[in-house]
Amino acid sequence: MDVNLQPIIDSWPFLAKALGTTLYVSVASMVLGFMIGVAVGVLRTYGGRVLYVLLGFYVDTMRAIPLLVVLVWTFFAFPLLIGRSIDAVTAGIAGLGIHLGAYVAETIRAGLTSVRRNQMQAALALGMSRFQAIRTIILPQALVRMLPALGSLLVIAIKDSAIASVIAVPELLRQTQIVAGKTFRPFELYTAAMLVYFLLCYPVARAVDRLYRRVAHLGSS
């Protein structure tokens, strides 16, 4: 078997740009998912019965439907409903973020309910409103406790961004396919892409572990 790294070297700028897109799409979808997840998690925990059920429907729907289906629907079907097209990157970030948001919401909710009830009472006893208590006392503790889980979700966001290749988002996997198709060197290209993903995901997973050990005591009331 002969290994030829020339295609990778030749397409280096093209692939580097694709890696940039992968990073952009992962981080943007994580940010979107985080915002959705915090809002949904807090509202499901403290928003009363109706919101619990309504938002629970969103969460369980996203847990039930594959990401590929969410992405394909958002990119191909949704524009027909609203009558205008969406570019692939926007659709990709939206689909990834909405899908991820459900998992963030469940994580946040688990974190919020794991903070002892008395912490809320202590905050209320100081005269805080429920909103102030959640924002300054309960949510920060929940986030610290859920740091490992949120870190895993970041790793998942990076890996899942590769699925956006099916709607032609020009991220790393998609552009690797293109180069592999043009040069007929799938082994080198796909292996290199695999290594890059590993180098992205593995350190993040490790870093989150280490970070958590440093701050664990901040979340233990």
């Binding site: 289906v69 099916v166 997973a205």
Partner: protein, 219 residues
Amino acid sequence: MNFQWSIVWESLPRLLDGAWMTVWLTFATMTLAIPGGLVLALMRLSPVTLISASATAFVEFFRATPLILQIYWIYYVLPAYFDVQLSQLGTALAGLACNIAAFNSETFRSGIVSIRRGQWNAGLALGMAPARVFVSIILPQATMRVLPALASTWVSLFKDTSLVSIISVAELSYVSLQIRAETYRILEVLTAMAALYWLMGYPQAKLVDWVHRRFKVAE
């Protein structure tokens, strides 16, 4: 905008065939990935560094790279460079099973490690062989503890089977995308696909919640 939902009824037999393939893939993969995960977990707990390190490398690699890329890799690289010719279905099963086995091995490993050392000692003190202790004492307890994580992995797997559509395995996503391409009824067909996944996945998600409540370890 006019929609033609009748296309969904006309295509329903094909969609259901696809759904059946999705279910089949889920069961077949899990059937391979449970023993696979157990073997990997035991290898990782092995005192022989070579064995534990190679299992660790396998697990970390499959956990830290995208499944969709793993499927491509197996599909394009194995036949071209290693002269291993798998069918599309074989490729799909291999990719899914390796990936899920890696996740299962972490589940099993933490399940086994979570059983207190004293349980080993108690078994050994009764005169059991270590293998006997593992099978009769440790494994049953660990099984109860890993059920929630295993249930979550099950639903992930159910969803992940959609990724093998990229290598033309005729499961629900692939079939739906084919019908879409044939009929151009994009919204109708893709919505029907999402609805079918929802109908299958929603009860599973609820079941997972139940398993989590039922087998929650009190700590």
